[in-house]
Symmetry: C2
Subunit: 341 residues, 2 copies
Amino acid sequence: MELGERKRKILKAIVTDYIETAEPVGSRTIAKKYLTDISPATIRNEMADLEDLGLLEQPHTSAGRVPSDRGYRYYVDQIMEIKYPSPQEIEKIKYMLQIQTINELDKIIKRTTKLISDITKYTSAVLTPSVRKSSIRSLQLIRVSDYDIVAVVVTDTGIIKNVVIKSPNAVDDSKILKLNNLLNEKLSGLTINDIGLTVISDIQSHMREYSEIFSAIISVVYESLKEDDAEVYLEGTTNIFEYPEYDDKDKARTFLSFIEDKKSLTNIFSDDTNKFCVYIGCENENDKIKDCSIVKATYNIADKTAGTIGIIGPKRMDYARVIGILKSISNVLSEIFEKTL
Amino acid sequence: MELGERKRKILKAIVTDYIETAEPVGSRTIAKKYLTDISPATIRNEMADLEDLGLLEQPHTSAGRVPSDRGYRYYVDQIMEIKYPSPQEIEKIKYMLQIQTINELDKIIKRTTKLISDITKYTSAVLTPSVRKSSIRSLQLIRVSDYDIVAVVVTDTGIIKNVVIKSPNAVDDSKILKLNNLLNEKLSGLTINDIGLTVISDIQSHMREYSEIFSAIISVVYESLKEDDAEVYLEGTTNIFEYPEYDDKDKARTFLSFIEDKKSLTNIFSDDTNKFCVYIGCENENDKIKDCSIVKATYNIADKTAGTIGIIGPKRMDYARVIGILKSISNVLSEIFEKTL
DNA sequence: GTTAGCACTCATTACTCACGAGTGCTAATC
DNA sequence: GATTAGCACTCGTGAGTAATGAGTGCTAAC
């Protein structure tokens, strides 16, 4: 859709003002604050056009205009200029994410989640990397007691996963060692999806003597790695109370109950077909967040897409700023995780 | 405080009715629903007495009475009879907690959290066991690359913890093996608090040749185990919207922002001096939850107090039922965890 | 094409008033 | 002396009304 220069300016003014004030913006406000050289009447005409185009909406006859979902979309795609954090701010972000002594993957991701919600003042969500999409770097069996084995899987993305295995018959250290070496040799480098029947039966043929223990191990390990284990961390869930759109109890409730449902949240954030993505209002599939917007970006571990960071908030969101922040933090994270482990 | 039989009955009626209806209860209601043989006027006199004793409160002159914090306390301590789930229900709980194929500690605890909030309709919080209070059962080093080691610590309470260690100089499998054996021998059976300078220097004396690697390992492992790693799982946070006391936006917000602050939550729930505990309203130290109640109970792993389960909700809470449920679930959990790993 | 003027719409707020639930007190009753 | 009926009083709640003002669309003039 091609828009004249003046219409663009008016749309921009409306979005900007509405993001700031949360009040429908009228023609007079625009003429006074944004476009001092045109009269309110002209602006009214233009606004009527923009409404006909579906970019603006009127809550009721005697109110000003509010951007529609399509209006926000046009603003995001065609008008807005991304506001990136300054180099100093980015340095500060880097510093904040690595400030502690213990800098495990998990800790950094948790810190990132908190940081995003602190900076943006929206609710942040971060998806941890999943074992499923990673390949196995090392698999180690630890004998805890005669019948208890712990399998530790380390992936190329730096995830460490533990699986407890109850062995059907007693194991000793030498058995464990043999199994260990074999499994490691056969499985390392493979992703979960690579582990099929051929691989399993290949290992099995080398392991005739311990077949019972082996099948106990392989089934539990496989089961545990197969399940989608990506988790969503959330922070700043109560930030929504800062925004008048959630003054209404039911609105707040709907939002929070959506947030509480980790499954659908995981679904949305595990889709990493795009490095970067904005969903505005009814562009969201889930009805519960038809009046929210989601902005998300992926981050890499060892140069491979591993997880997603994002925020969720009211449609009336400072897109330019949020997008700049998320893109920057996503870069910082990928940089930190460039060499992992 | 000694109360006459009739006063006890009236207090009980008021608490019961208020818990059910959330409306201040008047003398007429009591005379009609609970104590049909006394007249409203008599009940009014008794209620005035109970108010003088500080057990009841009046929101305003022309309203009925509401239990005060002390009123609830008296009810919980002296009047209420705990409503335990039926044996069938307890069987169902057991079943629900172990229904999945993968029954790791973590999964069971998460399921417990969800179950509690589902059954009680309040917000549930469960504290995971902490490494700090456990003793080390096995410590295993895994060599992931020349400079990367993962230490896996398994405790007697079934916690498995991973620590990533960057070695200052390259390590090979034989070094790892030696370190492994030594650390295992020296550390297993000890709690974190037991690991002092004497133990460390003892190991160090056996490890002159690898002193650099050793100190890298021991410092990171120690650091990581020392930090309080008990986590609080939450479920049913939006349940509060069911209760009219949180109709007010600020009330809901205060509650949720308290819930979001994992630190203070962990603090409250890590106190396991009592196997079972109820905090009513202003008995809570934190101002944010002065009009909430908390009920909590500890659970055991391998016959040792390991964590806490609990709920948090409005003071107007079905104490008899909640207490029965939590005590039962705590027992079920301890039973499941009797033999761990 | 732009703008001033004006009638019209409609959410918001303040105000009033009747209603009713519940109390405390007094006097009569058991 | 304890219990109860009767009654005046309090106070939150909800309905109804009117004034206010922000903002619009339309028309006619510039």
